[in-house]
Amino acid sequence: MKKLLIALLMISTVSVFAKTITQKILVKGECEMCKDKIEAALDIQGISFAEWDVESKMLTVRYNDKKISEDQIHETISKLGYATGKLAANVASQKALDKCCQPKKVCGTEKAGCCSKKK
C-alpha cells in the first residue's frame, strides 16, 4: 500500500515528461524585460517549459505537439512583437513594445533604456 502510493506519486511526476518535444528557437529579444515577456507569453496550453537566454538569444521550449505546433509557437512570439529564426515580428506589436525591448534599428539612435546596451 505504502509503496503503491509512493509509486503513484512518482508516476504523476513522470507523466509531466510524456509526449513532449524539447526544442531551441532563436528569438530576437533584447533584454531581461524581453525575457520575462517571452516566457510569460509562452505560458499557454501545451507548453510545459519555456526559458529564453539573453546572451545566446535562444529559447528552450518544451511542448506537447498534439496540443500546440512549432508554427503556433513562432506565431505567438511574432504576435508578441519579436522576430524568430523563422518568422518576422508583427510590426504593430513590435512598435508597441517598450523602447528597450525594440531592436536598435526600430527604436533608432535614442540612447534610452537598454537599447543603448546590447548584450
Binding site: I6, S12, V16, E32, M33, E39, S48, F49, G113, C114
Partner: protein, 746 residues
C-alpha cells in the same frame, strides 16, 4: 543638480532558475536624460554594504527584509530613497528629486524557497507560501517542507512539536524575531507554538554558527523570523483553519498607514481544541484540549532624515488540558495535566542612516519578555507542579561603517542581556539573575560580490559564569559564472542551560529528577554549555537536459566542550549533569531541486545525523529520538488557473529509545524504533489572487506509534512516561480552511 530626475528601472529579471535563489532585486539607475549612471551606490538603508551600478547603470541586490529602503547615491546626484514595499522581486520605480516617494508598481512573482545567494553563511530562505504547504498554524508545525529542520513531538500529551537542527535540540539554535533573541529560557518548549504562521512574512534558517552581532547563543544554527510589518503591502488578513479532531484556528490582521511616515497593524489569533479524542484507546487524550488567545500591535515609522523604527507589543495566553479521559469525567483518581502560559513581549528597533555617507548607520534593538507558566501533572490528591516565571531584557546597539573603502566593512557595538528565572518543581526551587553585558566586532572583507570573508569576535561578561570570548568565521566564494558556491564556517557558541524549562517532556512522567555532582554556586548546579561548530556547504546549479537543477550539499560538525546532558538511560530517573567533551554531532545533507516544467517543482533530500552523546558510567551512545537517516520528497504542481497540488513524503529511519539496556549482562541491547513514512498532501485554489481555499491530509498512511505513553493504564506507577515519543500519535488528519488576503492597490 537637484532637479535631476533619477529613474530606476527595475528590470523584469526572473530567469526560472532564480526561483532557487534569494530575492534578488535587479535594476538600473539612469539620469533624467536616460543616460545610464555608472558607479552609483545602491544599498539598503540599514546596511552599509551595497553595490555599485555597472557601465550600463545596472545593479543587483539581495532583498533585505529588515529595512526595505533602497538608498541610491552618486557624487553629483541627489541621494534618493526607494521604499521596496513588497518581497516581490520585480519593480518599476520612478523617483523625483526631493525625496518624493512613489508607490512601487509590482509586477513580479514571489520567490518562496532558496539558498541565500549573497549571504556569507549557509542560509535558507523560506517565504510564506512555502510554509503554507504544511497543515497549520504555528511555527512549530511549519517546517515540514524544509529538510534542514526536523520537527516532531517530544511528548505524547501536549501536542507541541519540537525542532531539531544538525541533530541537536531546538534550544541549541538561536531563534530570534527580527534578529532579536525571542525563543529562549522558559519559552524554549512552547515558544514556537506561540508564533502564528499567518503573521510571518519569512524565515531565514542559518546552519552553523551565526553572526556575533546577534549574541553567542547560536550553537547549531540560527533561525530568524520576520513578522509582517505595518508598511507591508498586505493590508488585511483573515485565515480560518479547521481539522479533523475539532481543532480550529482563526487569524486576523489589519494594517493602516496613519500618514506618510507612520503605519500601524493589529494582529489577533484565537485557537481552540474543544473535542476529546482518544483514537489509540490508551485512555489518554491524543491531543490536549486547548484555548489560545494572541494579540499583537505593531508600529512602524520612517522619516525623511533616514531615521526608521519599528515597535511591537504582544500578549499570548495559552491554556492546555491533557491526560486521561476519566479525569475530565470527574474521576478523582485519574491523571490530568493543566498547563497555562502567559507571555508578554515588547520589542523595538530604531535605526539611522546617513544620507551623505551611505555606508554608515546606527541601529538599536530593544526586547523585553515576561513569561509565566504553571503546569500541574496529576490530580487533586497527588500531583507535581511546575511553576516558573521569567523576565528578560535585551539591548543591542550597533554601528556599521567602512574602513577607507567598501571593500572593508565592519559592524561593531555593545549588547546587554538580563534574565531572571524563578522555577519550582517537585521539591526543587531555582532562582537566578543573570546579567550579561557584551561587546562585539565583525569585519567583512568583500573585494567583489562573489567573494567575502567575515571574521567576528565578541566578549561578554556573565554575572554568574564570568568572562567569555566567542570567535566566529565565515567565508563565501561563488564562481563558474555564479553557478557554484562554496561556503565555510566555524565558530564557538555558548548558553546557560535551562534543564527544566527546555525538557518539559519529563514532567509528564514518573521519573525522579536528580542533579548529579552539582556545583550549587551555579544555576541548577550545572556549568554553561560551550560548543564549537564548523562546516561547509556546496551549491551548484546546472542543467539536466533542458531542466534547471540546483544541487546542495552540506556537512556540519558540532562538538561540545561542556554540555548539560539529560540522561534517561536508567529506569524511573531523569538525571542532569555536566559533561566535558560531550556530544559530537555530525550532520550531512544533500538536496536536489528540479523544475521540470514552469509550474512543477520537485525537491529531493537526504540527510544523515550521526550524534553521539557521552553519558556518565556508560560512555558514548546515539542521542535518543533522532533518526540517523531521513529522506524527503516534495512535489508541487501549480496550474494556470491558480490550483496548487503539493505532496510530501518523508521516510524516518530508526531512532534510539533510551533506557533499554541490560545492566545485568552488560550487553548493549539498545532498542530502536521502527522506521516509518509520513505522507502529506494538500490541494488549494486561489480566487482573484485574494481568497485561497485549501484541503489537505496529514499522515495519509495513518501511521501511529503503538504505545506513545508507557504504562498509560497506571499513570501513578513508577514506570509511567509520556516522554518516549518517536512517531505520530494521532494518525491520519484531514484539514481544510481558507486564507483571505487583501493587498493595497489591488
Amino acid at each position: 543638480m537637484k532637479n535631476i530626475i533619477i529613474i530606476i528601472l527595475i528590470l523584469l529579471a526572473i530567469p526560472s532558475i532564480a526561483q532557487h535563489e534569494g530575492h534578488i532585486i535587479k535594476g538600473r539607475v539612469v539620469s533624467s536624460q536616460n543616460d545610464p549612471v555608472t558607479g552609483a551606490y545602491v544599498r539598503w538603508m540599514d546596511k552599509e554594504a551595497g553595490v555599485f551600478t555597472d557601465s550600463a547603470g545596472s545593479f543587483q541586490i539581495e532583498h533585505h527584509h529588515e529595512a526595505p529602503y533602497l538608498i541610491i547615491s552618486f557624487a553629483s546626484y541627489t541621494i534618493d530613497t526607494v521604499y521596496v514595499k513588497n518581497m516581490d522581486s520585480t519593480y518599476i520605480i520612478s523617483l523625483k528629486s526631493d525625496n518624493e516617494m512613489e508607490t512601487a508598481l509590482i509586477i513580479g512573482k514571489r520567490i518562496n524557497y532558496g539558498l541565500s545567494r549573497l549571504s556569507p553563511r549557509t542560509t535558507i530562505l523560506l517565504g510564506e507560501r512555502e510554509f503554507q504547504k504544511a497543515a497549520c498554524c504555528n511555527l512549530s508545525e511549519s517546517f515540514e517542507n524544509s529538510p534542514a529542520i526536523d520537527a516532531s513531538f517530544a511528548d505524547a500529551v501536549t501536542g507541541t512539536k519540537q525542532i531539531k537542527m544538525l541533530g541537536l535540540d531546538g534550544f541549541y539554535t538561536l531563534i530570534g524575531k527580527e534578529y532579536m533573541p525571542a525563543i529562549r529560557t522558559l519559552n524554549s518548549y512552547y515558544g514556537l507554538s506561540l508564533i502564528p504562521s499567518s503573521w510571518i512574512e519569512g524565515i531565514q534558517i542559518t546552519k552553523g554558527a551565526g553572526s556575533v552581532v546577534n549574541g553567542y547563543e547560536s550553537m547549531a544554527g540560527q533561525i530568524n523570523i520576520e513578522m509582517k510589518k505595518p508598511f507591508d503591502k498586505e493590508s488585511f488578513l483573515f485565515d480560518q483553519f479547521v481539522s479533523e479532531g475539532g481543532r480550529t484556528e482563526t487569524d486576523l490582521m489589519y494594517r493602516k498607514d496613519i500618514n506618510k511616515y507612520v503605519a500601524s497593524s493589529i494582529f489577533l489569533k484565537g485557537a481552540f481544541r474543544p473535542i476529546k479524542n482518544d483514537r489509540n484507546n490508551d485512555g489518554f487524550l491524543d491531543q490536549p484540549l486547548s484555548k489560545q488567545f494572541q494579540a499583537m500591535n505593531r508600529w512602524q515609522f520612517m522619516s525623511d532624515k533616514g531615521i526608521e523604527g519599528i515597535a511591537s507589543i504582544s500578549y499570548n495566553n495559552d491554556t492546555k488540558e491533557a491526560g486521561q479521559l476519566a479525569y475530565y469525567d470527574g474521576d478523582n483518581n485519574a491523571y490530568g495535566i493543566d498547563l497555562n502560559t502567559k507571555q508578554f513581549d515588547v520589542f523595538a528597533k530604531i535605526g539611522k542612516a546617513f544620507k551623505d555617507k551611505p555606508y554608515k548607520s546606527f541601529g538599536s534593538q530593544y526586547a523585553f519578555n515576561n513569561t509565566s507558566f504553571l503546569g500541574t501533572y496529576g490530580n487533586s490528591i497527588n500531583s507535581k507542579v511546575y511553576e516558573a516565571k521569567t523576565s528578560s531584557f535585551y539591548v543591542n546597539l550597533l554601528y556599521q561603517s567602512i574602513i577607507k573603502n567598501t571593500f572593508h566593512e565592519f559592524q561593531t557595538g555593545i549588547s546587554f542581556q538580563s534574565d531572571d528565572m524563578d522555577e519550582k518543581y517537585d521539591g526543587f526551587a531555582f532562582q537566578r539573575t543573570e546579567i550579561v553585558p557584551g561587546a562585539f566586532f565583525e569585519y567583512t572583507y568583500k573585494p567583489k560580490e562573489t567573494f567575502s570573508l567575515v571574521g567576528g569576535i565578541r566578549a561578554d561578561y556573565n554575572s554568574i559564569f564570568g568572562m567569555s570570548v566567542t570567535p566566529r568565521f565565515h567565508s563565501k566564494y561563488r564562481f563558474n559564472k555564479d553557478k557554484t558556491a562554496i561556503r565555510l564556517s566555524a565558530g564557538m557558541g555558548r548558553r546557560t542551560s535551562n534543564p527544566l524549562a527546555q525538557n518539559q517532556q519529563i514532567f509528564a512522567s514518573s521519573r525522579t529528577l536528580a542533579f548529579i555532582n552539582p556545583d550549587w554556586s551555579l544555576p541548577y548546579g550545572l556549568e554553561q554549555e560551550v560548543s564549537i561548530n564548523s562546516g561547509m556547504s556546496f551549491e551548484h546549479q546546472f542543467r539536466l537536459g533542458y531542466m534547471p537543477v540546483t544541487l546542495g550539499l552540506d556537512y556540519f560538525n558540532t562538538s561540545f566542550l561542556s554540555e548539560v546532558v539529560l540522561d534517561r538511560e536508567t529506569a524511573n530517573t531523569a538525571l542532569f549533569y555536566t559533561v566535558k567533551n560531550g556530544t559530537r554531532a555530525n550532520s550531512f545533507q544533500s538536496q536536489v531541486d528540479l523544475q521540470p516544467a514552469r509550474r512543477t517543482e520537485i525537491r529531493l533530500a537526504y540527510r544523515m545525523f550521526d550524534v553521539q552523546t557521552k553519558y556518565n558510567d556508560i560512555g558514548y551512545l546515539a542521542k535518543p529520538f533522532i533518526s540517523k537517516h531521513r529522506s524527503f520528497i516534495n512535489v508541487t504542481q501549480k496550474t494556470r488557473n491558480d490550483w496548487q497540488f503539493s505532496s510530501t513524503g518523508t521516510w524516518y529511519g530508526p531512532q534510539r529509545i533510551p533506557g533499554y539496556r541490560d545492566y545485568v549482562l552488560f550487553e548493549l541491547s539498545d532498542d530502536y524504533s521502527p522506521s516509518f513514512i509520513l505522507l502529506n498532501a494538500q490541494i488549494s485554489k486561489t480566487f482573484k489572487k485574494q481568497f485561497e481555499v485549501y484541503l489537505g491530509a496529514e499522515n495519509i498512511l495513518n501511521y501511529k506509534q503503538d504505545n506513545p505513553i508507557e504504562e498509560a493504564v497506571n499513570p501513578f506507577s513508577e514506570n509511567f512516561d509520556a516522554g518516549m515519543v518517536w512517531g505520530p500519535i494521532f494518525g491520519r488528519m484531514i484539514y481544510g480552511g481558507f486564507r483571505w488576503r487583501v493587498q493595497v492597490g489591488s
